[in-house]
Protein backbone atom coordinates (compact mmCIF):
# COMPACT_ATOMS: atom_id res chain seq x y z
CA UNK A 1 0.00 0.00 0.00
CA UNK A 2 2.82 2.30 0.99
CA UNK A 3 4.67 1.42 -2.17
CA UNK A 4 1.73 2.34 -4.34
CA UNK A 5 0.88 5.50 -2.40
CA UNK A 6 4.45 6.75 -2.42
CA UNK A 7 4.95 7.26 -6.13
CA UNK A 8 1.53 8.84 -6.27
CA UNK A 9 2.40 11.38 -3.64
CA UNK A 10 5.65 12.10 -5.42
CA UNK A 11 3.73 12.54 -8.63
CA UNK A 12 1.20 14.86 -7.12
CA UNK A 13 3.98 16.71 -5.37
CA UNK A 14 5.84 17.11 -8.60
CA UNK A 15 2.84 18.23 -10.52
CA UNK A 16 2.03 20.79 -7.81
CA UNK A 17 5.51 22.13 -7.79
CA UNK A 18 5.49 22.10 -11.58
CA UNK A 19 2.34 24.21 -11.54
CA UNK A 20 3.73 26.65 -9.00
CA UNK A 21 6.98 26.98 -10.95
CA UNK A 22 4.97 27.40 -14.09
CA UNK A 23 2.81 30.14 -12.63
CA UNK A 24 5.89 31.79 -11.20
CA UNK A 25 7.62 31.67 -14.59
CA UNK A 26 4.56 33.03 -16.28
CA UNK A 27 4.40 35.95 -13.86
CA UNK A 28 8.12 36.60 -14.27
CA UNK A 29 7.73 36.45 -18.04
CA UNK A 30 4.74 38.79 -17.92
CA UNK A 31 6.69 41.25 -15.75
CA UNK A 32 9.60 41.02 -18.12
CA UNK A 33 7.35 41.72 -21.11
CA UNK A 34 5.89 44.75 -19.32
CA UNK A 35 9.36 45.98 -18.32
CA UNK A 36 10.66 45.48 -21.87
CA UNK A 37 7.69 47.32 -23.29
CA UNK A 38 8.18 50.18 -20.83
CA UNK A 39 11.83 50.48 -21.85
CA UNK A 40 10.75 50.48 -25.48
CA UNK A 41 8.11 53.15 -24.82
CA UNK A 42 10.66 55.31 -23.05
CA UNK A 43 13.02 55.02 -26.00
CA UNK A 44 10.19 55.75 -28.39
CA UNK A 45 9.23 58.92 -26.47
CA UNK A 46 12.77 60.29 -26.58
CA UNK A 47 16.35 59.12 -26.89
CA UNK A 48 17.39 61.93 -24.52
CA UNK A 49 18.04 61.26 -20.85
CA UNK A 50 18.08 64.47 -18.81
CA UNK A 51 18.47 62.51 -15.58
CA UNK A 52 22.19 62.05 -16.07
CA UNK A 53 22.86 65.75 -16.59
CA UNK A 54 20.72 66.55 -13.56
CA UNK A 55 22.84 64.24 -11.45
CA UNK A 56 26.02 66.04 -12.59
CA UNK A 57 24.53 69.43 -11.78
CA UNK A 58 23.51 68.20 -8.34
CA UNK A 59 27.00 66.90 -7.65
CA UNK A 60 28.69 70.14 -8.69
CA UNK A 61 26.26 72.47 -6.97
CA UNK A 62 27.42 74.28 -3.87
CA UNK A 63 24.65 74.08 -1.27
CA UNK A 64 22.87 77.34 -0.70
CA UNK A 65 24.01 79.02 -3.91
CA UNK A 66 21.04 80.47 -5.75
CA UNK A 67 18.73 80.11 -2.76
CA UNK A 68 18.09 83.85 -2.91
CA UNK A 69 15.85 83.29 -5.92
CA UNK A 70 13.37 81.33 -3.80
CA UNK A 71 13.01 84.38 -1.54
CA UNK A 72 12.22 86.87 -4.31
CA UNK A 73 8.75 88.26 -4.88
CA UNK A 74 8.98 87.18 -8.51
CA UNK A 75 9.51 83.54 -7.58
CA UNK A 76 6.77 83.61 -4.97
CA UNK A 77 4.35 85.22 -7.37
CA UNK A 78 5.09 82.59 -10.01
CA UNK A 79 4.94 79.71 -7.54
CA UNK A 80 1.70 80.74 -5.81
CA UNK A 81 -0.35 82.06 -8.72
CA UNK A 82 -1.72 78.63 -9.52
CA UNK A 83 -4.08 78.60 -12.42
CA UNK A 84 -3.14 82.03 -13.75
CA UNK A 85 -1.87 81.36 -17.23
CA UNK A 86 -0.37 84.83 -17.61
CA UNK A 87 2.04 84.15 -14.75
CA UNK A 88 2.89 80.64 -15.84
CA UNK A 89 6.42 81.42 -16.98
CA UNK A 90 9.41 82.47 -14.90
CA UNK A 91 12.38 83.37 -17.07
CA UNK A 92 15.78 83.84 -15.42
CA UNK A 93 18.37 85.38 -17.68
CA UNK A 94 22.03 86.09 -17.33
CA UNK A 95 25.32 85.90 -19.13
CA UNK A 96 27.33 82.70 -19.34
CA UNK A 97 28.73 81.61 -16.04
CA UNK A 98 26.45 83.58 -13.70
CA UNK A 99 25.01 80.37 -12.32
CA UNK A 100 21.66 80.02 -14.05
CA UNK A 101 21.96 76.25 -14.22
CA UNK A 102 22.80 76.04 -10.53
CA UNK A 103 19.88 78.07 -9.24
CA UNK A 104 18.30 76.23 -6.45
Amino acid sequence: MDRTAYPHSINSGNSNSYNVTNIHNNITDANKVIADENTEIMRWLSPLDPGRRHQDVRTDRLDGVGNWLLETNEFREWRSSEGEADKAVLFCYGNPGVGKTFLR
Binding site: E74, V89, G94
Partner: protein
Protein backbone atom coordinates in the same frame (compact mmCIF):
# COMPACT_ATOMS: atom_id res chain seq x y z
CA UNK B 1 15.41 74.53 -9.06
CA UNK B 2 14.23 71.06 -9.96
CA UNK B 3 15.32 69.78 -6.55
CA UNK B 4 13.77 72.71 -4.67
CA UNK B 5 10.46 72.21 -6.43
CA UNK B 6 10.64 68.47 -5.81
CA UNK B 7 11.32 69.06 -2.10
CA UNK B 8 8.35 71.39 -1.84
CA UNK B 9 6.03 69.37 -4.00
CA UNK B 10 5.60 66.23 -1.98
CA UNK B 11 1.89 66.29 -2.58
CA UNK B 12 0.01 63.78 -4.62
CA UNK B 13 -0.44 64.66 -8.27
CA UNK B 14 2.34 67.24 -8.43
CA UNK B 15 5.15 66.47 -10.83
CA UNK B 16 8.40 68.21 -11.70
CA UNK B 17 10.13 67.57 -15.01
CA UNK B 18 13.30 69.20 -16.26
CA UNK B 19 15.56 69.46 -19.24
CA UNK B 20 19.02 70.92 -19.90
CA UNK B 21 19.61 72.21 -23.42
CA UNK B 22 23.14 71.70 -24.66
CA UNK B 23 24.61 73.22 -27.80
CA UNK B 24 26.85 70.16 -28.22
CA UNK B 25 23.73 68.06 -28.67
CA UNK B 26 21.69 70.45 -30.83
CA UNK B 27 21.01 67.95 -33.57
CA UNK B 28 19.46 65.36 -31.30
CA UNK B 29 17.77 67.91 -29.04
CA UNK B 30 14.84 68.52 -31.35
CA UNK B 31 11.66 69.93 -29.91
CA UNK B 32 9.98 66.54 -30.24
CA UNK B 33 12.81 64.84 -28.35
CA UNK B 34 12.87 67.51 -25.64
CA UNK B 35 9.11 67.26 -25.16
CA UNK B 36 9.48 63.47 -25.15
CA UNK B 37 12.10 63.72 -22.42
CA UNK B 38 9.69 65.84 -20.35
CA UNK B 39 6.86 63.37 -20.96
CA UNK B 40 9.11 60.47 -19.95
CA UNK B 41 9.54 62.05 -16.54
CA UNK B 42 5.80 62.42 -16.09
CA UNK B 43 4.90 58.89 -17.10
CA UNK B 44 7.43 57.28 -14.80
CA UNK B 45 5.26 58.51 -11.96
CA UNK B 46 2.97 55.60 -11.20
CA UNK B 47 3.78 53.63 -14.32
CA UNK B 48 3.28 54.45 -17.95
CA UNK B 49 0.05 56.26 -18.54
CA UNK B 50 -2.51 54.30 -20.47
CA UNK B 51 -2.87 56.68 -23.37
CA UNK B 52 0.89 56.78 -24.01
CA UNK B 53 0.92 53.00 -24.08
CA UNK B 54 -2.01 52.92 -26.50
CA UNK B 55 -0.32 55.46 -28.77
CA UNK B 56 2.86 53.41 -28.68
CA UNK B 57 1.07 50.20 -29.63
CA UNK B 58 -0.77 51.99 -32.42
CA UNK B 59 2.48 53.47 -33.75
CA UNK B 60 4.08 50.05 -33.62
CA UNK B 61 1.33 48.56 -35.80
CA UNK B 62 1.61 51.23 -38.45
CA UNK B 63 4.17 50.58 -41.11
CA UNK B 64 7.16 52.87 -40.70
CA UNK B 65 5.04 54.97 -38.41
CA UNK B 66 7.24 54.71 -35.36
CA UNK B 67 8.78 58.14 -35.49
CA UNK B 68 6.82 60.64 -33.43
CA UNK B 69 5.78 63.98 -34.89
CA UNK B 70 5.77 67.13 -32.78
CA UNK B 71 1.96 67.65 -32.86
CA UNK B 72 1.40 64.06 -31.65
CA UNK B 73 4.00 64.52 -28.92
CA UNK B 74 2.48 67.81 -27.73
CA UNK B 75 -0.94 66.18 -27.75
CA UNK B 76 0.30 63.32 -25.57
CA UNK B 77 2.10 65.70 -23.24
CA UNK B 78 -1.01 67.86 -22.91
CA UNK B 79 -3.03 64.79 -21.94
CA UNK B 80 -0.42 63.67 -19.43
CA UNK B 81 -0.23 67.16 -17.86
CA UNK B 82 -4.01 67.33 -17.64
CA UNK B 83 -4.15 64.11 -15.60
CA UNK B 84 -1.92 65.60 -12.92
CA UNK B 85 -2.87 68.22 -10.37
CA UNK B 86 0.05 70.47 -11.22
CA UNK B 87 3.15 70.10 -13.35
CA UNK B 88 6.36 72.12 -13.14
CA UNK B 89 8.48 72.13 -16.28
CA UNK B 90 12.05 73.47 -15.95
CA UNK B 91 14.18 74.04 -19.03
CA UNK B 92 17.75 75.28 -18.70
CA UNK B 93 19.74 77.21 -21.32
CA UNK B 94 17.11 77.99 -23.97
CA UNK B 95 19.81 79.83 -25.91
CA UNK B 96 21.58 76.52 -26.53
CA UNK B 97 18.75 75.20 -28.71
CA UNK B 98 18.78 75.81 -32.43
CA UNK B 99 16.65 78.93 -33.16
CA UNK B 100 14.07 76.81 -34.98
CA UNK B 101 13.76 74.44 -32.03
CA UNK B 102 13.51 77.32 -29.57
CA UNK B 103 10.45 78.77 -31.27
CA UNK B 104 8.78 75.37 -31.54
CA UNK B 105 9.60 74.70 -27.91
CA UNK B 106 8.09 77.95 -26.67
CA UNK B 107 5.05 77.41 -28.91
CA UNK B 108 4.54 73.91 -27.51
CA UNK B 109 4.91 75.10 -23.92
CA UNK B 110 2.34 77.79 -24.62
CA UNK B 111 -0.11 75.19 -25.89
CA UNK B 112 0.35 73.22 -22.69
CA UNK B 113 -0.26 76.28 -20.50
CA UNK B 114 -3.36 77.20 -22.49
CA UNK B 115 -4.78 73.76 -21.91
CA UNK B 116 -3.62 73.43 -18.27
CA UNK B 117 -3.20 76.94 -16.82
CA UNK B 118 -1.92 75.55 -13.50
CA UNK B 119 1.27 74.45 -15.20
CA UNK B 120 4.34 76.42 -14.06
CA UNK B 121 7.25 76.83 -16.42
CA UNK B 122 10.74 77.80 -15.29
CA UNK B 123 13.22 78.65 -18.03
CA UNK B 124 16.72 80.08 -18.06
CA UNK B 125 18.83 81.50 -20.86
CA UNK B 126 21.15 84.24 -21.97
CA UNK B 127 19.68 87.76 -22.14
CA UNK B 128 19.07 87.67 -25.90
CA UNK B 129 16.40 84.94 -25.71
CA UNK B 130 14.18 87.21 -23.62
CA UNK B 131 12.71 88.60 -26.85
CA UNK B 132 11.56 85.15 -27.91
CA UNK B 133 10.21 84.24 -24.47
CA UNK B 134 8.20 87.47 -24.37
CA UNK B 135 6.91 86.83 -27.87
CA UNK B 136 5.17 83.70 -26.63
CA UNK B 137 4.55 84.69 -23.01
CA UNK B 138 3.92 88.42 -23.01
CA UNK B 139 3.24 88.54 -19.28
CA UNK B 140 6.00 86.15 -18.21
CA UNK B 141 7.88 86.97 -15.01
CA UNK B 142 11.48 87.94 -15.67
CA UNK B 143 14.40 87.88 -13.23
CA UNK B 144 17.99 88.85 -14.01
CA UNK B 145 20.60 86.55 -12.51
CA UNK B 146 23.99 87.71 -11.32
CA UNK B 147 26.18 86.13 -8.70
CA UNK B 148 26.50 88.00 -5.40
CA UNK B 149 29.93 88.77 -3.91
CA UNK B 150 29.01 86.59 -0.99
CA UNK B 151 28.25 83.59 -3.22
CA UNK B 152 31.44 84.00 -5.23
CA UNK B 153 33.44 84.14 -2.00
CA UNK B 154 31.81 80.98 -0.70
CA UNK B 155 32.49 79.24 -3.96
CA UNK B 156 36.18 80.28 -3.88
CA UNK B 157 36.52 79.15 -0.27
CA UNK B 158 35.17 75.77 -1.21
CA UNK B 159 37.55 75.50 -4.18
CA UNK B 160 40.55 76.55 -2.05
CA UNK B 161 39.59 73.96 0.51
CA UNK B 162 39.77 71.29 -2.19
CA UNK B 163 43.13 72.55 -3.46
CA UNK B 164 45.49 69.63 -3.94
CA UNK B 165 48.69 71.73 -3.95
CA UNK B 166 48.29 73.58 -0.68
CA UNK B 167 52.02 74.19 -0.29
CA UNK B 168 51.86 76.78 -3.02
CA UNK B 169 49.30 78.78 -1.04
CA UNK B 170 50.08 81.43 1.57
CA UNK B 171 47.68 83.24 3.87
CA UNK B 172 48.28 86.48 2.03
CA UNK B 173 47.58 85.01 -1.39
CA UNK B 174 44.47 83.33 -0.05
CA UNK B 175 43.20 86.60 1.43
CA UNK B 176 43.90 88.41 -1.85
CA UNK B 177 42.04 85.80 -3.87
CA UNK B 178 39.02 86.00 -1.59
CA UNK B 179 39.02 89.82 -1.69
CA UNK B 180 39.89 90.67 -5.29
CA UNK B 181 38.08 88.02 -7.35
CA UNK B 182 34.57 88.58 -5.92
CA UNK B 183 35.00 92.34 -6.41
CA UNK B 184 36.18 92.05 -9.99
CA UNK B 185 33.52 89.53 -10.91
CA UNK B 186 30.66 91.59 -9.54
CA UNK B 187 32.05 94.70 -11.29
CA UNK B 188 32.15 92.68 -14.48
CA UNK B 189 28.47 91.78 -14.25
CA UNK B 190 27.42 95.26 -13.19
CA UNK B 191 28.53 96.67 -16.53
CA UNK B 192 26.84 94.02 -18.61
Amino acid sequence: MIDSLCDESGEEGIAVAGFYCDFRDQQEQTTTNIMGAILKQLVTRGGVLGHVQTAFQKAKMELCGRGLRLPDMVQMLKRAVATLRQVFICIDALDECLPKHLLELLGSLKEIVQESPRTRIFVTGRPHVEVEVIRYFTTGIIVPISPSKHEIKRYLEKKLEMDTTRDAMSDDLRADILRIIPERISEMYEYQ
